[in-house]
């Protein structure tokens, strides 16, 4: 009888396909994964603790640095949590600017997802096209905020700056290009037989399982559960826009990939409507110079590109948060990784990991 032996291999933390500094120890029986142990914490900066030593406004730049790919949602979640705590009414124009910026940021994040998933599976061309289109989005965001990635754009009570001159025209000019790019990406990757063979039916997640593990956002919708905070529990001015919630059918890697393509189209739709509906007016509410929320606590959730993002802030009445906790969607998403991996082949590990859409700055916070 031939004796077989389990071997364990270490992937990361410095590995090109682990999206940053993620490490996982895989136990293999031949080609099959029998055990997997994710090791997180290589990018831990202690943002929750740092926030306790910063004033409420000074925390905003740190929220960017959790999910640096879709940073605008993180700004939005934080400032809305504080506004909820202080009872600040935000001017309408500011709300619309926030929606435009957040949706642009969501598109950029999904572009990176599409690109990195293709790259992880060995398709370099599939990486190039989304990044070409992401450049358009980043150009718009750079024009609006001055930064390409870590924006620090939102303020408690409004936004930092009004729309610059020519922004609306340029956005209207770029949105069709983004849609065209999505069609190209779909034709390039979604029809590819090799890609389909490698993703369809892989790492299927049922709705019950996704809910049990606390998944939200696009990953949950890929399983077929129609839930989007922007529609189900509207915040900001999202209740005024018409858009669909795309859902998948099986919750496999293919659905999770294809859903992002559909979501980019919906985000473009929201921006188009917001550009038409944006009113004139102030961009900042009347906020005291020194922000001192009343004693109390608040929890606020928004729909981030990677799932449901929640901020829990406790105030003791001083100028600094007493405690801040962030429910980061990437951290929740990565929790199921071990379950998904056991029983699959080593070559599929990269695909599965790419498909759950995590960014390590968000996992470790």
């Amino acid at each position: 009888m031939l004796k077989t032996q389990e071997i364990s291999i270490n992937v990361g933390p410095q590995h090109p396909s682990t999206h940053g500094v993620f490490r996982i120890v895989l136990k293999l029986d031949g080609e099959t994964i029998v055990d997997a142990e994710p090791v997180v914490g290589y990018l831990h900066r202690g943002i929750e603790k740092l926030a306790e030593d910063r004033t409420y406004t000074q925390v905003i730049p740190y929220t960017d640095r959790m999910d640096y790919l879709g940073a605008m949602s993180y700004n939005l979640g934080y400032v809305q949590a504080i506004e909820k705590l202080m009872g600040i009414e935000v001017p309408e124009r500011a709300e619309f600017i926030r929606v435009i910026a957040t949706e642009l940021s969501r598109i950029a994040s999904h572009h990176v997802f599409l690109a990195s998933m293709c790259l992880d599976m060995g398709s370099y061309t599939g990486w190039m096209y989304p990044f070409r289109d992401r450049e358009l989005v980043l150009e718009l965001l750079e024009m609006l905020t001055g930064s390409r990635m870590t924006f620090s754009f939102m303020r408690i009570g409004g936004v930092a700056d009004d729309l610059p001159e020519g922004f609306i025209e340029k956005t209207k000019q770029y949105l069709p290009k983004i849609l065209e790019g999505v069609d190209e990406e779909e034709g390039l990757i979604a029809g590819n037989e090799i890609f389909i063979a490698r993703t369809k039916g892989l790492a299927t997640v049922s709705v019950e399982k996704a809910l049990a593990w606390g998944w939200g956002g696009a990953n949950l919708r890929a399983s077929g559960y129609k839930f989007d905070l922007r529609k189900n529990r509207p915040y900001s001015v999202y209740d005024r826009f018409e858009f669909d919630i795309p859902t998948g059918a099986n919750g496999d890697c293919w659905d999770r990939f294809y859903l992002r393509l559909a979501e980019i189209r919906q985000s473009v739709k929201i921006i188009e409507q917001a550009l038409e509906m944006i009113p004139e007016g102030p961009i900042m509410a009347k906020v005291p110079k020194v922000i001192k929320p009343p004693v109390g606590e608040v929890y606020h959730e928004v729909e981030a590109p990677k799932g449901i993002l929640g901020y829990y802030v406790v105030s003791d009445g001083s100028t600094k948060p007493y405690r801040m906790h962030v429910r980061r969607p990437s951290f929740i998403n990565i929790g199921m990784l071990k379950e998904l991996l056991i029983g699959t082949k080593l070559a599929d590990f990269i695909t599965i990991f790419a498909s759950i859409d995590v960014v390590l700055g968000d996992v470790d916070c």
Binding site: Y62, T150, P164, G191, N192, I194, F195
Partner: protein
């Protein structure tokens, strides 16, 4: 039919052959940056009143404003230093400035060879310890 998806993909890449390249030959050619770009900093020292609001606004304690009192007991700027290695480029300091003395400029090639060179000294008076003596706000 098997293989049709591949051909469709190839047709898309083939179309790209006739388009202009999307990349830029970077060090030779440079992108035109928007006016709001968060680059390095410029200080109009004649406008600065050494109030230290930028220093207070900074989340990372990057900015150090030194000031002296002149003969009329008026605070004047003596030195302005920024530890750029800790800078987040969030723009809270620029926003806090009441006289618009501190602004972003368009420089973005900020990598330096030596660690000491990272420190950005925007203003330095020759003799800080004149009169009443130097004082940090």
């Amino acid at each position: 039919m098997n293989g049709m998806g591949l051909l469709k993909g190839l047709a898309i890449t083939f179309k790209e052959l006739w388009k202009k390249p999307v990349t830029l030959e970077y060090p030779e050619k440079k992108e035109k940056l928007p006016p709001r770009f968060h680059g390095s900093f410029t200080l109009y020292s004649e406008k600065c009143i050494a109030c230290g609001l930028c220093q207070q606004a900074c989340p990372n304690k990057v900015i150090k404003v030194g000031s002296i009192k002149d003969e009329n007991n008026k605070r004047k700027l003596a030195s302005y230093e920024m530890e750029m290695k800790y800078c987040l480029f969030c723009g809270l300091c620029v926003e806090a400035c009441p006289t618009n003395a501190l602004v972003f400029n368009q420089e973005y090639e900020l990598a330096k060879y030596n660690v000491e060179d990272i420190k950005l000294t925007l203003f330095k008076k020759e003799q800080i310890t004149t009169g009443e003596g130097s004082e940090n706000v």
